[in-house]
């Protein structure tokens, strides 16, 4: 019985903002070891879905389980989340952020973080509010990847970053991915991310319009995911 373990199980998930439906009857399972890309234009419900998974929002209906737990303190300690914001406290230096992660997350690996900082060419004494946009993104990613989490959630990890930094970030993601965990990546820069995705989920108006193994989809349609994306969401 070589059944893969499901890290994420989402059943009939719904989120309404008053009468507007941001997510509608969403079903999704993510197996251990998979990198899943959630693709969709702005306003398709990507961020809402991620906020529910990370416990920042509460769903209106349906059920979400991560590693068997309902979203809460238990899931927060096994989910490593990279928001698309500069989420660190403004008064910090990089070493303070390191201390904070060490204090709160038992799975944080200081050696790994230092290696990542080195790779990203960042210094521990740098002040957070003096970092550039690309450096912010690199630092945040280093913190997130240095955890030995069950589920990584990366929200737009390469948006607004120059091509060199983009490659560095992708290399870091590939190089630090652990076999026994899973990863969710949202993006609309499909072409850049395509190579690292095992599975893709196309989200439109809060519903999944297409989902499956990236390799199979490419074979079936004889097209790159990027082209399929444009077909699905194009006018």
């Amino acid at each position: 019985m070589n059944k893969m373990k499901n890290i994420v199980e989402i059943n009939g998930l719904a989120k309404h903002y008053f009468r507007k439906k941001a997510l509608d009857q969403l079903n999704l399972t993510i197996e251990e070891g998979k990198v899943v890309g959630i693709l969709g234009p702005n306003g398709s419900g990507k961020t809402t879905l991620i906020k529910i998974l990370t416990g920042l929002l509460r769903q209106t209906g349906g059920e979400v389980r991560i590693g068997g737990y309902k979203v809460g303190v238990a899931t927060k300690s096994i989910v490593s989340y990279l928001p698309d914001r500069n989420f660190l406290y403004k008064w910090m230096r990089i070493k303070d952020a390191l201390k904070l992660y060490q204090d709160f997350y038992e799975d944080f690996d200081e050696k790994k973080f230092e290696a990542l900082l080195d790779f990203m060419k960042l210094e521990k004494d740098m002040k957070i509010d003096t970092l550039s946009k690309g450096m912010h993104e690199k630092l945040n990613l280093s913190l997130v990847l240095a955890r030995d989490a069950k589920l990584y959630i990366l929200d737009e990890p390469i948006a607004g970053v120059d091509p060199v930094a983009r490659d560095q970030i992708l290399d870091a993601i590939i190089g630090n991915f652990r076999e026994n965990s899973s990863m969710i990546i949202t993006t609309h820069l499909v072409r850049d991310m395509e190579s690292i995705l095992d599975e893709v989920v196309f989200l439109k108006d809060g519903r999944i319009v297409l989902a499956g193994n990236a390799e199979q989809l490419r074979e079936e349609k004889g097209k790159q995911i990027d082209t399929i994306y444009k077909e699905v969401f194009g006018a």
């Binding site: 990370t54 809460g72 303190v73 989910v79 914001r85 500069n86 989420f87 008064w91 303070d96 709160f104």
Partner: protein, 150 residues
């Protein structure tokens, strides 16, 4: 929870120290000039109300700042960090409230000490009646703050 309080306090201490420094400088100025004949602050009738206003002003600024620190978590990006830490909402809220309480008590005590110190330095002759007034005032301020927080 204690861990989170540590970060809450580290995030706010510079501002609180700033208020304290400002209060110290203004009070020192008032004390110094109240020693001179004919100064604006010479009479207790003017000195007292301005001193009290200064202290209430400082307390108010500190209070607004702490309210602001809650607002910041809710509406700004650092909330993404705070609310994805493996802590319950009550733990986060509790830490912030306790940190605020510590600041108010600390600020009250520090201001009382500053008053006492300045009196010793600048107006040893006035101590006789000023100290009575200030003890009452400091007590009143502390009392007001602790009631305000509960």
């Amino acid at each position: 929870m204690l861990k989170y309080m540590k970060y809450e306090i580290r995030g706010t201490y510079k501002f609180i120290l700033g208020i304290l420094a400002l209060v110290f400088i203004l009070l020192a100025g008032m004390y110094a000039s109240s020693n001179q004949e004919g100064s604006l602050f010479h009479s207790v009738q003017i000195f007292m109300p301005i001193g009290v206003m200064l202290l209430f002003g400082a307390a108010l600024i500190a209070f607004l700042y702490i309210v602001g620190s809650f607002r910041k978590e809710l509406y700004e990006d650092s909330g993404y960090l705070t609310f994805t830490l493996p802590l319950t909402g009550n733990q986060i809220l509790g830490s912030k409230l306790i940190a605020a309480l510590i600041w108010f008590i600390g600020l009250g005590i520090a201001v009382a000490l500053i008053n006492f110190l300045l009196m010793m330095i600048f107006s040893p002759f006035h101590i006789y009646h000023l100290s009575q007034l200030f003890l009452v005032k400091s007590f009143f301020v502390c009392k007001f703050l602790s009631v305000g927080i509960e």
